[in-house]
Amino acid sequence: MKTFKVLGGGCRNCEVTADLIAQAAKDAGIEIQLEKVTDMAEILGYGVMSTPGVVLDGKVVHAGGIPGPDRVRDWMRG
């Protein structure tokens, strides 16, 4: 199972990003684990300064804005 973490201080863009990922997983029919990380120490621990950021299975795959729908769909594959 894929593990997603959305990094961000709880602003609207972070919520939108989390919703996008949840929706894409549903569309792809796969089960994922989705966690919203709001703790600054943990966010910066990933080396991310521009939020929202996305961590997939421990690797930062995106930072600095809402990811495009194509990107999110790509993450569900493989």
């Binding site: 602003c11 863009n13 621990g45 991310v48 521009s50 939020t51 930072a63 600095g64 809402i66």
Partner: protein, 317 residues
Amino acid sequence: MFERLGDLTAFHLLRLSPDSHLGSAVQFFVMDVAKIFLLLVAVIYVMGLLRAMLSPERVRAFVRGRPDWQARGMAVTLGAVTPFCSCSSVPLFIGFVEAGIPLGVTFSFLIASPMINEVAAVILVGILGWKLAALYVAAGLLVAWFGGIAMQAFRPERWVEDYVWKIRMGEAAMAEPDTSLLGRHRYAVGEVREIVGRIWRWVLIGIAVGALFHGFVPAGWVTEHLGGDDWFTVPAGVLLGIPLYSNATGIIPVAEAMLTKGVAVGTTLALMMSVAALSLPEMLILRKVIRWPALALFAGVLAIAFTLVGWGFNLIA
């Protein structure tokens, strides 16, 4: 072409008189909505294609340990060319502090970021001409540069929340960006969607305010009271801008309406900068990392800087 569109809608389609208040307001509104949104989409798309964006993570690595003026130059440039979600200001602040970048440099970045960006600059050129655009950008860079230095003089380190110093930043294992043409196109479309989606409300509100000003405020009254002869109009504009919040693009149509009615250039610039850079919600977000005295000082330094810039331009013009 945009003027024709405005004329067509207001005077032919809606049969309003060009001499009426409502007629000229509607004409202004239609003209600016078409022009600004077209420019917005075009600029953001092209920028996305070029991927001219510097990532803050890379800048942080580069700035680390450089002499003050180089670090400040990079920080101001980063603030000026990349649009950030305002919620990023907290992690950016912490990341800079953790890299040992002086607080004054970080403040320079925080000032430049909301005030100047390449999208607003291009739209400024399109709406108000390159001279005013250059003035605005130059004034913004100046304020960011010296505002940060002024903040440093007050030793703001003592007001940084304790937990900030304890955070250790990890090394990012960033995925490589897709640099094929299709990848760039996708990225650019994503950027357009994201940025326009974020700022369209501010832009529409700005155009509506500009249209009302354009249609309903008599020019004679403006030149008499806001023409730049009274010294207090500049600080009044700055004060007015503090509770008002818009982004740098949204304030442009308001400035357009003010200038065409004869409001002095310095007064207009001061209001623009104050609306874009001094905003209560943004300040409250920063409260997570710095305490009230530093916030008050930040607001004070900016208000004074905008006033000086406004007076300066009113004198020259």
